[in-house]
Amino acid sequence: MTNTALPAIPGVDAVDREQWIQIYQQMSQIRAFEDQANQLYLSAKMPGLTHMYSGQEAVAVGVCEALERDDYITSTHRGHGHCLAKGAQFKPMFAELLGKVDGYCRGKGGSMHIADQDSGNLGANAIVGGSAGIATGAAMSAKMRGTDQVAVCFFGEGALGQGLFYEVMNMAQLWKLPVIYVCENNLYNEYTHYSETTAGELTARAAAFGIQTVELDGQDVRSVYLEAQKLVKQARAGEGPAFLLANTYRFHGHHVGDINRTYYRSKDEEKLWKTERDPITNFGRWLLESKIADQGLLDQITTQVEEEAKAAVAYALDAPYPAEEEVTLHVYASD
């Protein structure tokens, strides 16, 4: 089996070559980051656990490419991809994963809580659905302050089981807040297929509030980007929230320690997604077929991000842990 070519879609010609290559580079960067993070876990160099974003890269990159740096995102426990796509750098990311003081959160947040105010990342959140209020509140704040900032709330399909979503979607539509709810359906609520937990249609939930909904192939970064552009533009123009359902797949288990998982999904299914639906491979093939890039360039990008990731890991491994007095620092903000 080979990865299938991406279908022809309208609008791709409006995007220039450099931007497509940048998108490829960003997706490759996320994959390289996650591969190194997985190695850190397997070699017992990383405390705790982490949740791999591999397989879902097209969603984070496609959406964040449509955002400005001062737009907001909120992320999830499976959040490395969102953070990187919004502008986070390898070194403080890996340092954070290792609990080092040079990390984005001085080692106090870890893999599930990376926040980077400078790039508009209001934080990854380890309460499923926990950031729905924050993203919607950031959108309300943008509207109140009279900026044209937009907020994007990334979450998995499992978060639709949380009541908070329905409370905030109601208010977002009522008050026409510039927030985009990006639901990444990777099929599994932890170890359970979403069909066993979810009645009705996913998009019907947002549609019930009169929110515009879009469902698309989350493995095709082109369609994610083009659609996100439209929704962001509408939100900026004061037309209110949107709900983007991106159908995708996580290549790894729920977390890096979830190795034996055939009881909830088959190896055949995983193989099918990896060989036929890999968002980076398929996009790379399209770049080649469209003569936007040649194999040499794609290989060069892959090699470069892998080397950067390795160098960042080495940096993070050498970085110091926070000093003991740091434990009581930042419980309260000083006035």
């Binding site: 907001y72 909120t74 990390g103 984005y104 959160c105 001085r106 080692g107 106090k108 947040g109 809580h113 926040a115 980077d116 105010q117 209001l122 934080g123 959140n125 309460i127 926990g130 950031s131 729905a132 209020g133 924050i134 993203a135 919607t136 509140g137 950031a138 959108a139 309300m140 704040s141 943008a142 109140m144 302050r145 907020a151 009541g163 908070l164 409370e167 905030v168 109601n170 208010m171 009522l174 620092l329 930042h330 419980v331 309260y332 903000a333 000083s334 006035d335």
Partner: protein, 334 residues
């Protein structure tokens, strides 16, 4: 008071004092806004916010759906991005609906982000029983919030303090929960005109005494003062200490008072088990043990769901005569 008022003192109700604090802060800082159920034209069921939307409009005084978790979450996000929200949670019992947003989000964001993000928001809510409102509209749950590092908790007792403390809470860079006693809303007291604030974390000695310390919070400050009056009649001199905030807690003032009087009763309207009284009693036991002539006593709400029937409900809350009895025992006067 950190900023001394220079103007005259008027009599205001607790409710008017809260209202005035909000109006002044909204005039001072356009990032301050109010959100909650029936906060605009209705001015809340308690009428505390009456008139505020007339001045500031419904863009800054937002009537929300009945979605306590949702509006609290919105405030967390708004606070992180430059606004200073004041969310109104009508009954303290409903803070249970906001717990993930307060406990896992608001309280932890500053720490989890290594000090990068701040959540300068205020949650105004209520406490207090004996309004015949039964088990779901009568609880005093401030100990829940006081348990969580990252949150500050204010329990004002007088109109003047309500105003000064609320202004400080709004200007604070942290999430602050401000508990107002429902029965105090119509209580009148002297409130200085003009600008003043009261810092969070500074207790107030409401009455000086030498024989026993009565630490009272919120609604129980008045109970302690009444008890002190009755005790004076039988020759027991009671000192009344009001912590004013449970977090930060002014341990020094409480301990100093207990060392001076050598006896202490802690009175609070929250449930007694695992409650505010337990925390403060342990502070006294730790800090004043060698000065004490009697065990530290705690008087909180009975550990039962608050009953509706007046004959039962009144039994659940500490009152002055009960405090007097315990004080007499501690002073060997029973």
């Amino acid at each position: 008071m950190s900023t001394q008022a220079t103007n005259a003192v008027r009599e205001l109700t607790f409710s008017q004092a809260v209202n005035e604090a909000l109006v002044e802060e909204m005039r001072r800082d356009e990032c301050v806004f109010i959100i909650g159920e029936d906060v605009a034209e209705a001015g809340t069921p308690f009428k505390v916010l009456e008139g505020i939307s007339d001045e500031f409009g419904t863009d800054r005084v937002l009537d929300s759906p009945i979605s306590e978790a949702g509006i609290t979450g919105l405030c967390v996000g708004a606070a992180m991005t430059g606004m200073r929200p004041v969310v109104d949670i009508m009954f303290g019992d409903f803070i249970t609906l906001t717990m993930d947003q307060m406990v896992n989000q608001a309280a932890k964001i500053h720490y989890m982000s290594g000090g990068k993000l701040t959540v300068p928001m205020v949650m105004r809510t209520t406490l207090g029983a004996t309004r015949r409102s039964a088990a779901q509209h009568s609880q005093s749950l401030h100990a829940w919030m006081s348990h969580i590092p990252g949150l500050k908790v204010v329990v004002p007792a007088t109109p003047a303090e309500a105003k000064g403390l609320l202004k400080s809470a709004i200007r604070d860079e942290n999430p602050v929960i401000f508990f107002e006693d429902k029965l105090s809303f119509q209580l009148k007291g002297p409130v200085p005109e003009g600008e003043y604030t009261i810092p969070l974390g500074v207790a107030d000695i409401k009455r000086e005494g030498t024989d026993i310390t009565l630490v009272g919070t919120s609604s129980m400050v008045d109970v302690a003062l009444q008890a002190a009056e009755q005790l004076a009649e039988i020759g027991i001199s009671a000192e009344v200490v009001d912590p004013r905030t449970t977090v930060p807690l002014d341990k020094e003032t409480i301990i100093a008072s207990a060392r001076k009087t050598s006896r202490a009763i802690v009175i609070d309207e929250g449930y007694e088990q695992y409650g505010t009284t337990a925390e403060i009693a342990s502070v006294i036991a730790d800090g004043a043990f060698y000065y004490l002539d009697a065990p530290v006593k705690r008087m909180g709400a009975m550990n039962v769901p608050i009953p509706f029937s007046p004959s039962l409900e009144d039994l659940t809350v500490p009152d002055a005569s009960g405090v007097v009895e315990v004080a007499k025992q501690l002073c060997n006067r029973a």
